[in-house]
Point group: C2
Chain length 599, copies 2
């Protein structure tokens, strides 16, 4: 690790020559592979961006110049080059580096990211601030072609026909979102380049009038170029378009970025680079979607709830022709690959466009289909208004499978699924279900589809095997797991049930345990039967606006004298670590429950 | 009202000739002006769309074919032509017609709308359903150029490079969102037409090589056309582009739509029509933004809270150079016109792009500015994830002025501001304020800016003059208005305070009234001092996840024995009517409070 260590100390990156930069990029690549093998993390995207990031650090004057990574899952090289090499082995671990750019972690991380689509908007905002405050630096944002067509990025792109100076958008074109990029915009991007356009133009002429005419028409070169330029998508939106550059070629990238850094002083530049996702790691290049995010030792095994969803849905779609599946660039993650194979024409992966996924599903639902929309909890947040305004307001039969609900461990703050109960449970017409284990998933799905109205089913990545036999899900009525007269514990989801069981065992108290599998509406019949004057609620969601507060306010109105304590995510953003560590941070531990139960 | 009445009965619209269609459109225009004068409503947009809508009803086979109106504020002609003429005078009134397309109101209203950007996505969804179910009809969606550049529409547009057949997108180009359309996409739209492109091309050649060359180059016509077609934004995204057509010319529109109806059987069509917003009503044509939505008798007077915000913000921006103002096509509505005039370079109207408005503001905030983002409560919903992920997660000093919070009267279901407390109060780092009257606004704004962290200030359109003297807002600590030992009423906002005061008077009970002007965090010191064993909370927000449930769960944990009853919007979507009627629907009446207080 010679050079990589050197540049942390006395050697400046800018002193290195191309040969050294190339060997440095190999060092970086090796480091990323080692650490991801140890800690898990985003592999493909980071391997693809090594040379481009290196060139950016080599060319720009960081951290005076500002660098924003869209989504941020490609920032590992950036972290290695900004004084965080020593800590790099701690990435995604509690107390260690975040796997995403984190404003409070380093002055080099200008803007915290994790969700797609925020780079161009935030970049423009930074430029506007810089210009109003009379400061002088360059803002560069790196955005993948997948994120590029997210609505937020497109709003920023089309917001105005002029863009700020000293602004560079690096479009990292690897042909993937998380899975393959099939959007129309991408087709356009991969087509529209001045160079290619000009070449196509010449070919057309040749075909039309033969070589000799083409020759005579040499003088038309500039004219044709003008036409293509004027019609270039990016020029229209106020950018000088530069491309296509090989983003895995350090020499070409540094050379180009030097020119671009100068050019952007006159006009914002969109630099179109092609990179290979997974570059330098055979398996990852081959299956870059599978290797997008991996577990320790490159574990690719699918999440248990997700694969259960895929299998259950396949069976249901066999029986009911009206059921279709929708996702937003989360086909593998949500377990729908099997649906894509079995029912290609009834499967819709819309790319990183959650809003479109939900509103298109509403359109399908008003016209007789029963869409099942599978999204991660944190990304469903992007489509809150579509769920409310397009689905719930019209009371349409759309089923939302809210994957990765609850604590999500190593991905940290931007990827927690800790708000969906607060978001969805105040929506009229919405039913909210929470399976306790994988074995509930199929029943929950069947029940959801039977309701013919909006339903959300939230579940985590996985739960540990429970040492308790749950009755079948049926209609999600609450289930009493154990009787007791000292304290009632109402829990939501398998992890909280496991916690409640341990708590009951270790506290030695006489505890009634109830499992709530239907969060909205509340099972008030069950609440009525509770005889204890002390109630705990436990959920993997923010306490604020969560399940517990609804239970608490039920008691406050209908059965005062009952003391209700809510346990869940405390009112802060929960950083990366293991799920256990995150639950500990929020006081979701046996010890804390015992303490509180003795107060 | 001859023809308009006739077509409700025996005469079929399709039998009319152009001359009759023209006089019918004049009848319709007159009817719209009369009724809007009586009931208030959306004037400019509806006047602009008379002829186009008439042509659509004349050409399409409705309701078998499906017609979707983006936003929906241009649907009056559609309602008059679909058997709702008799009820039209009741529009926007309780129990009467909705001012927007309403699925449950008529089979002609395929999709309920109110928010911008949903038409292309829902239209594509409908086509996909139709094709999977083997049905046969045409889906046409009408979208204004303002909505067209909303992220959701752009996601739908770019979702795939092929679009369903029998799908027509009518781009209604009137150069306005609500205020003038300044987006880059619009510049593109207003530029990109095959015809114009070709003409420009010819001109360029003439300029470059003189008339004689241009003549010789005649044979290049097709070649040039091919180039322009290939580069046409809409063709790229799978549409056949037809335009520009005069959307206020019935003859031209019916002729074109007949051709388009045929053409779309082969390929989806984007029909670009130009219309005049406010057409046929001089003042509305002149000031189409002011006349976008008007009160009874065309009342244009601004909302009291909004204009107070504008004035206060102007003063603050005089003093603090870092403060900037941001909105999303709500400049007049949010009272920021004065800012646009006084500080044009520190004012940003981004068009109908709430997500972009919020994330760009986050970018400004990380770079030293203090953005004040003014949006209507119902539209802020569009940017929930940006508020959470880009502002709160980084704890940035962005102040959200949440206008039109609470019940909104005649606009109905899609425009209620009844979810923002539930949405914003579970966000870590967020402070949530609720001024009681206009006189609180400036203090609230100053306090918000002093916190240097995310703050939302929610307020309604207006409140009646309160017959109580409130102390100055300061830091928003809760205020006791009256002492009492029978019952404590904690209210949020001026209307609920007025209700509480009447309730206290009429009930003759000994009631303590507390006003909560800081909703998050709760004023627990004040809650501690409450001695009554009965507490009412009243808010203009959904009870679910609202202020009351937080108060209730506070008591349930810290002071059981206190019975807490929450009053607010019940768990359903509240239809159009007066604010008083809507409050009544939710039991926010003196009588109901008295009943509940006697239980």
């Amino acid at each position: 690790m010679g050079l990589l260590q050197d540049i942390q100390k006395d050697v400046s990156l800018k002193q290195l020559d191309i040969k050294q930069l190339n060997s440095l990029s190999e060092e970086i690549r090796g480091e990323i592979i080692d650490v991801v093998k140890n800690n898990g993390g985003h592999l493909s995207a980071n391997l693809g961006m090594v040379e481009t990031t290196l060139a950016l650090h080599y060319t720009l004057d960081l951290p005076k110049d500002k660098l924003v990574f869209d989504v941020g899952h490609q920032c590992y090289t950036h972290k290695l080059l900004s004084g965080r090499y020593d800590k790099f082995k701690t990435i995604r671990q509690s107390g260690g580096l975040s796997g995403f750019p984190e404003k409070d972690e380093s002055p080099y991380d200008t803007f915290t990211t994790g969700h797609a689509g925020t780079s161009i908007a935030s970049g423009i905002g930074m430029c506007q601030a810089r210009d109003l405050l009379g400061e002088d630096y360059c803002v560069a944002v790196v955005v993948g072609d997948g994120s590029f067509s997210n609505g937020l990025n497109m709003e920023a792109l089309s917001s105005s026909s002029t863009k700020p100076k000293n602004f560079i958008v690096i479009l990292n074109d690897n042909g993937m979102s998380i899975s393959k990029n099939k959007t129309g915009l991408y087709k356009y991007i991969s087509k529209t380049t001045t160079g290619n356009g000009y070449i196509r133009g010449k070919k057309v002429i040749r075909r039309a009038f033969g070589r000799w005419v083409a020759k005579i028409l040499g003088k038309f070169r500039d004219f044709l170029k003008r036409i293509f330029n004027r019609n270039n998508y990016f020029e229209i939106f106020g950018f000088k378009y530069v491309g296509v550059i090989d983003g895995n070629n350090v020499k070409e990238m540094t050379k180009t970025l030097k020119r671009v850094r100068e050019a952007c002083k006159e006009k914002a530049v969109l630099l179109h680079v092609k990179t290979v996702k997974g570059k330098g790691f055979a398996e990852a290049e081959e299956k870059s979607d599978a290797y997008h995010g991996v577990g320790k030792n490159f574990d690719l095994s699918p999440c248990s709830f997700s694969s259960k969803l895929g299998k259950s849905l396949e069976g249901i779609m066999q029986k009911d022709k009206r059921v279709v599946a929708v996702t937003a660039a989360m086909t593998d993650g949500t377990g729908l690959s099997i649906i894509e194979k079995t029912f290609p024409e009834r499967f819709f992966d819309v790319g990183i466009a959650e809003e479109y996924a939900v509103t298109a599903s509403a359109g399908m639902a008003v016209s007789g289909l029963k869409p099942v929309v599978a999204l991660y909890s944190t990304f469903l947040q992007r489509a809150y208004d579509q769920v409310m305004h397009d689905v719930c307001l019209q009371n349409l039969p759309v089923v939302f499978c809210v994957d990765r609900a609850g604590f999500n461990g190593a991905d940290g703050k931007t990827h927690q699924g800790l708000f969906d109960i607060s978001l969805l449970s105040h929506l009229p017409n919405m039913t909210l279900l929470c399976p306790t284990s994988e074995s509930d998933v199929e029943d929950a799905l069947n029940y959801a589809l039977s309701l013919n109205s909006p339903v959300a089913i939230r579940y985590p990545k996985s739960v540990n095997k429970l040492d308790v036999q749950m009755p079948s899900f049926k209609d999600g009525k609450w289930v009493q797991i154990s009787q007791g007269d000292e304290l009632s514990v109402i829990c939501v989801g398998g992890r909280t049930l496991a916690l409640a069981l341990d708590f009951a065992k270790e506290s030695g108290k006489n505890i009634q345990i109830i499992v709530a599998r239907k969060i909205k509406p509340l099972d008030t019949e069950c609440l009525q039967t509770i005889a204890c004057d002390k109630v705990f609620t436990i959920e993997e969601n923010a306490i604020e606006g969560g399940f517990g507060q609804k239970v608490a306010s039920y008691f406050a109105e209908h059965k005062p004298n009952v003391k209700v304590t809510c346990f869940g995510a405390t009112d802060k953003f929960i950083a990366h670590g293991t799920v256990e560590e995150q639950m500990q941070t929020c006081g979701l531990t046996v010890q804390n429950l015992i303490e509180k139960s003795n107060q």
